[in-house]
Symmetry: C2
């Protein structure tokens, strides 16, 4: 596998641990080139994973008070900063793409091994633990991080008057089902999320359920 | 001033404090549309402020051990997450553009008032305090955050074999002078930064100083 840094190797005279850290930090520049489905509110293009991760971090800092359980804000921010890194090698799996999900776990685990393995061992283990914690969604911090990951595109879709809600085959019920994890972290934020979904549906920005 | 949210106002039934928070979080989507001079390592385009802010946050998490003084990692991450927000209204001032700097302070202060004022008062004060702390560069956390802000484009310019080092009129000495603040936070990282600058100069990626 060719790394970004292989194009312009770091100069001699930087100690090995720092070289590994800088190699990783250069490689993750690729997160800026992983496109998501969500349209930006501020420009006529799709969002990328780095922008998305920054946005989630801002949301954690400003919305943490809405968590139903106390959370460590700094730790939750770390979870969202790293949560999409594996997509650098595994790609983004759209929320409403049910077909792509079947080998997603295996692809993302292989990506985690390759990418985090660039770091010094202690940091590779630490970043891997953060990613595992996010994926497992058991700690209050991981639940809140996941809620931000679901709430943020809801805001962007609202601003776009539909956005990915208009994905063929997706109904208002599908949206509600996939967003319900917000309620695992915050009753208040899920209430607001449901207002956005319901009002969007009422305005025709998502498709009614069969028979609904 | 028209806010992004004015294009698609939030629905009724969301409490006022949360509405203010969401209004702000939608407005800061604009950070993704503020372009910097730095070229990405991973794609053929310039970086934007949201991507840059995410990258700095990752650097804080992974490079904090190189700080010469102990730092609170979570707090330092918050400083870098918010440090460029004022550019949403004030624009990016390129590091090597000496002309644009003269009214930069006034423009950025006005931008901070307008943008942070969207938040509930307690949070507006908190974000303003974070931005002031970053700008004043007195705390160990602010010094380290600033060092990341200077080291990250150094990595991107290295990868681009010059990048903004090739700005007309800029010499290797100018680069060294503007990057020296890295040394206020970390002797080790500044040593590595100097290796990048010196080796880049040796390869002809920056312009020698007059008489140098």
């Amino acid at each position: 596998m060719e790394l970004l840094v292989d194009k312009t190797p770091l100069p001699e005279g930087i100690d090995e641990r720092l070289s590994r850290q800088l190699t990783f930090l250069i490689e993750v520049d690729r997160l800026k080139a992983v496109l998501r489905q969500s349209p930006l509110a501020a420009a006529e293009r799709r969002e990328n994973d780095a922008e998305h991760s920054w946005h989630l971090a801002m949301m954690v800092v400003l919305l943490a008070e809405h968590s139903d359980e106390p959370i460590d804000v700094g730790h939750t921010v770390e979870l969202v900063l790293v949560h999409d890194l594996v997509e650098i090698y595994a790609g983004d799996t759209p929320l409403y793409d049910t077909g792509a999900g079947h080998d997603q776990d295996a692809r993302e685990r292989a990506a985690a091994d390759a990418l985090f393995g660039l770091l010094p061992v202690d940091q590779a283990e630490r970043v891997r633990a953060l990613w595992d914690e996010f994926e497992e969604r058991r700690t209050p911090e991981a639940k809140f991080a996941k809620a931000m990951d679901r709430l943020q595109p809801l805001l962007l879709n609202w601003m776009a008057r539909g956005g990915t809600w208009k994905t063929p085959g997706v109904t208002t019920g599908d949206i509600r089902e996939r967003k319900a994890v917000i309620g695992d972290a915050s009753a208040g934020l899920w209430q607001a999320g449901q207002r956005l979904i319901d009002e969007g549906a009422a305005r025709g920005w998502s498709r009614p359920d069969a028979g609904g």
